[in-house]
Every structure is written in structure tokens, then in C-alpha cells.
Amino acid sequence: MTTSNKKNPYRGMFLTWLVLTIAGVIVSIYAPSRLMPRSMSDNMHLTVLTMIVFSVAAAPVAAGIYAFAIHALRHWTHKGEAVPAAGPVVRENAVVVTTWLLVSTLLTVFLLIWGLGALAVDNGSSSKNPLVVDVTGQQWVWSFSYPGTHVQSNELYLPVGREVEFRVTSDDITHGFWIANMGVQVDANAGTWTTIHTTPNQLGTFDIRCTQFCGLNHAFMVTQGHVVTAQQFTTWLDSQPQRA
């Protein structure tokens, strides 16, 4: 180490950076999909993918900071109680500043381009006749109705593979309609409609939680939804009580 320091004092820092970066990249690739709820829609796939990309992009930067900090603590700290002698006088270094700006700008631009692209995909409505579901938030219950069918339910049933358009409103104060497994979230506002689109692509059950603080029992404003096959969906619709 000491000899290598003589050769190149920053070799240690570089190695630390390399190790941390590799570790970071590995974690970035494997962690998101395992830490987040099971993906059940195209939006959620996109979300997880974006998280992986951003984490990979951020790993070398964070690693750099930590590598520097570790190196500084190991090699550049002043030993002893006496007042340290002055360090080297470096007031400006145009090259370093410009490079730093350039790199951070490039990273930001990359994130932006990816983000805007992902946003376009995220908001895009792929289908001509989406299944419309009217979502009503009320302290502290969600209710779902299927226009044209006179069916109103407290659990959400969706056919797999068909785009859904949620039209969300509230009966009292603002709630946050969030399907934890589908990466879609929008507030339910009194007197206003907000809409989100998603296409469920996995069969199964998912949780719906309120993400906008809505008072006393906010924590209990939860319900479940089910993604079922198309004809299971129609059978379910028919089985429901028809409301005037």
C-alpha cells in the first residue's frame, strides 16, 4: 500500500471507488424489483425499470463521494494536538470545475431524456376503448362503480390485459387513490374528476391504499382489488346486485 502510494497516491481511492461502484450497480439491478410490491401492470414495470436505470447511473457518483471521504479520512487527516500547518493553496481550478459541471450536466440530461420518455409512455393511452371505472373516495372507504352496468362495489375487479381508465373523485375531502402493485396514483378531489390509465398484465390480488392524509382513519382506508380473466370479470359483474 505504502509503495503503491508512492507510485500513485490516488490508487487506493480509485480502488475503493471501483469496489463501491460495482457493489452499487449489483444492488441497483437486483434490489428494486425485490423490494417493491409485485408488478402487475405495464406502468409498474416501467417504474421498476426506471428505478434500476437511475440507481445504476447514481452508483458511481455516490461511490465517488464515499471513496473520497474514506481516502480523506485515511490519508489527509492531521495527527497530533498541535495546530496543523497550512495545506496547499488551491483557490481555483477551472479545469476541474468545468469538468465537474460538464459531467453533472450530462448525467442530468440523460436522466431528463429517460424521464421524459418514460413519462410519455407512462401517461400514454394505448387502447381505443378502455374499461372505465369510476372511483369514489370517502372518509374512509373506497367504492368503485362500472358506468353503464349499475354495479357498485367496495372491491375492485379488473380484466387482465385490457386498459383501464380510472375516473377518480371524492365525496368529502382529498384522498389519494393508489394501487401499490400498478405504479399508478392520483388524488381524489371533491367536485373534480382526475383520471389515470393502466393496463393490468398479471392475474392476482392487489392492495389499494390512500396516500393523501385524510384524517382520523387514514391508515385504515384500504381495500383490495383483483385482476381476473375477461370472462371471470363478466361473470362477476353479472353476479353483483344491480343498482337503480
Binding site: D134, S145, D172
Partner: protein, 240 residues
């Protein structure tokens, strides 16, 4: 930090503990303070107008100015709604921004008076006449306050049926107007206080032909209040 103490004594007043600074030095500092306060006040004004324009833009349920046909609760927006309570009659807001103009006009007049008074003071060095004019400006301001309160009382109260129970409510338009007028009243009270201060101080000769700096400071703020009043009237009359 390298410090040269030998040349320190030509920093004037330094050895006297800094309290004998030249009046124009103090004045310059205070003018900057006033400018900064006005800056903060400009933000407040823009926030008020933002409120007004934003509510106008969103116009939830078309109830910006009118709640005619308003039905008990938002469930009524719901296409397959059932068993809604009967629509309750509520009338359109008849409030007009016209009174804003009358108030603004009065404030502008008071600002003009205080400005003229200051010019007179600096030209003719006559503190007595300044005192009189400041008193007049103060009285005019109080008039503006009274007008604003009258205006507030003109805002119609609207009754809405929510779940069969009558509750009073103002439309968004009325609300935005109320907050603009309210902030106006707040400013007018400050002006009245300052005007009274100027009157008394000049009467006592604390403000005089040579010490007129505070007159200018107050005038700066006064003029800004007048301008903001006019801006408020402009916006509320052109967009509604």
C-alpha cells in the same frame, strides 16, 4: 484576514461606538430596508392575485361566481348518482369590483398628498404645513378604511344545502375579493399609523426641513400601497 489598524481612524465615527453615523448613512440603510419590505409585499400581492386568478381558472363545478343549481354534495357530479336532495336556491354573487376603484382612488389621492407634502417640506423647509398635509393624508386613509369595510359588508352571503342542512358559504369569487380587500385594509391601517406618526413628529419638529429622511421613507411605502391598490382593482375588474 489582514487588518490595518493605523488607517482605522479615518473610518468616521468609529471611535465613538458607531452611534454618531451621518444621517444620510442611516437613511441609506433604512431605504434599503423599506425596499426589501416592499419586495416582500410585492410577493404577497402577487400571491393574492395568484389566488384570484387560480380560483377563476379552476372554477370548480362552475361555482366561481354562482352557486345556482348547486346540489348538496359532490356526489351529484357523479353520473349514475341516485336520490340526491333537491337543489337549493342560491343566487349569483352581485359583488362588483367597482368599489375597489373608489378605494384605490382614495388611496392614490392620499399618496399624492403625502408626496406633495414631502416635496414641499424639502423645498420650503416648512414643517408646519407638512404636518397639516400629513394629517389630511391620514384622514383620507381612514376614509379609505371605512370604504373598504363598507365594501366587505356588501359581499352577499350565500346559503347552500349540504345534506339537508343549510350552511352559509361565499363563492370562490367573493372569497378571493375578501382576502384582497382584507389585505388592503391591513395596509391602510399601517399607513394611518405612519401618517399619524409623521403628523405628530413634524408638529414636534422631529421631522423638519433638514431632517426629512423619514418623510421619504414613509412616502416610498405609501406610494407602493397606492400602486398595489390600483393593480388589484385592474385585475379584479378586467378578469371576473
Amino acid at each position: 484576514m489582514s487588518i490595518d489598524t493605523h488607517s482605522a481612524h479615518d473610518a468616521h465615527g468609529a471611535s465613538e461606538g458607531g452611534h454618531h453615523e451621518a444621517p444620510e448613512v442611516v437613511d441609506g440603510r433604512q431605504r434599503m430596508g423599506i425596499w426589501l419590505f416592499i419586495g416582500g409585499d410585492i410577493i404577497t400581492m402577487s400571491a393574492l392575485l395568484f389566488t384570484y386568478l387560480y380560483l377563476r381558472g379552476v372554477n370548480t363545478g362552475g361555482h366561481w361566481r354562482s352557486m345556482v343549481g348547486y346540489i348538496g354534495h359532490s356526489y351529484s357530479y357523479y353520473q349514475n348518482a341516485t336520490n340526491l336532495p333537491a337543489p337549493s336556491l342560491v343566487h349569483v354573487s352581485t359583488l362588483s369590483a367597482g368599489l375597489n376603484w373608489s378605494v384605490s382612488a382614495i388611496v392614490v389621492v392620499s399618496a399624492a398628498i403625502i408626496w406633495a407634502a414631502e416635496r414641499g417640506l424639502r423645498a420650503s423647509k416648512n414643517a408646519k404645513s407638512y404636518s397639516t398635509l400629513a394629517a389630511v393624508a391620514t384622514i383620507v386613509t381612514v376614509l379609505a378604511i371605512i370604504f373598504s369595510i363598507v365594501q366587505l359588508r356588501h359581499i352577499p352571503q350565500i346559503y347552500v344545502a349540504v345534506n339537508d342542512s343549510q350552511t352559509m358559504s361565499y363563492t370562490a369569487y367573493d372569497s378571493a375579493m375578501m382576502v384582497i380587500i382584507g389585505s388592503g385594509i391591513l395596509h391602510l391601517f399601517i399607513l394611518a399609523f405612519l401618517g399619524l406618526g409623521l403628523t405628530i413628529r413634524s408638529a414636534r419638529g422631529v421631522i423638519n426641513g433638514d431632517k426629512w429622511y423619514q418623510a421619504r421613507l414613509v412616502r416610498m411605502f405609501w406610494v407602493w400601497v397606492a400602486i398595489s391598490a390600483v393593480i388589484g382593482s385592474l385585475v379584479t375588474t378586467t378578469i371576473h
